[in-house]
Amino acid sequence: MSITIKLFSALREALGVSEFQLDLSDISEASAQVDVAAIKKRLSQRGAEWKEALNQPNLVHALNHKVVFTDAVVSEGDELAFFPPMTGG
């Protein structure tokens, strides 16, 4: 199972990547459903920068272009984005 991860703004800058594919087959085998929290946990294992960036209290998660909580369930082909609070207008 593979999904697209996108990072924006200060998060993209801190982690040096804007978009990549993430294979979740081992997580999905271990449990029936994979949620945003499980993906954050997986990505946090990539190193201290990832752990710090993805565990900021004000981090926003958007699944398929809609803001969600960490219990949102992720499916094959989904697009999951992480970013700081928005500052448009």
């Binding site: 924006f8 958007a62 272009h65 984005a81 700081p84 609070p85 448009g88």
Partner: protein
């Protein structure tokens, strides 16, 4: 009844003419936002706006539609820029046409208050001491929350 995400300057006169031309109504309200030459603590010489195109288009489209339903608008339009912007350039323009001024003005206010916190854009300011990402403001979150509390009344 549309959204534009664009790097080029906003032609406010053309946007106004198109908005009114679409569906002449009795009341037209618009808001234009420009790049300030200062933030709370320092001078600003340039602004860069990063955005998440697919999500921004979706969020702004839903926002316009929701304002139209709530205030019975005849027409609406949201234009938001991205990329590098000089001081005094336009950043955002919203317009609403309704039968009465209250609905048109409130719709513009709702669209602006909501897009500040819900549309995926991030400002990066350049000043004499370097560049920095703009932090979200509690005052923007509070203004956004006022509309949610009104929805539940």
């Amino acid at each position: 009844m549309s959204v534009s995400l664009q790097s080029e300057a906003i032609d406010v006169a053309a946007e106004y003419a198109q908005l009114v031309g679409d569906s002449p109504g009795a009341a037209v309200a618009t808001f234009t936002g420009y790049v300030r030459d200062h933030s709370d603590a320092h001078a600003v010489t340039e602004l860069e706006l990063e955005h998440y195109p697919e999500m921004a288009r979706k969020v702004l489209g839903e926002l316009g539609q929701s304002a139209a339903e709530r205030f019975g608008l005849c027409s609406w339009r949201i234009v938001h820029r991205f990329g590098r912007l000089a001081v005094s350039e336009t950043i955002v323009w919203v317009g609403a046409v309704a039968d009465h001024r209250g609905e048109a003005i409130s719709a513009c206010e709702l669209m602006m208050d909501t897009l500040k916190t819900d549309a995926p854009f991030w400002k990066r300011e350049q000043g004499p001491t370097g560049e920095q990402w703009v932090a979200s403001r509690d005052s923007d979150t509070e203004r956004r929350a006022r509309w949610q509390s009104r929805e539940t009344q």
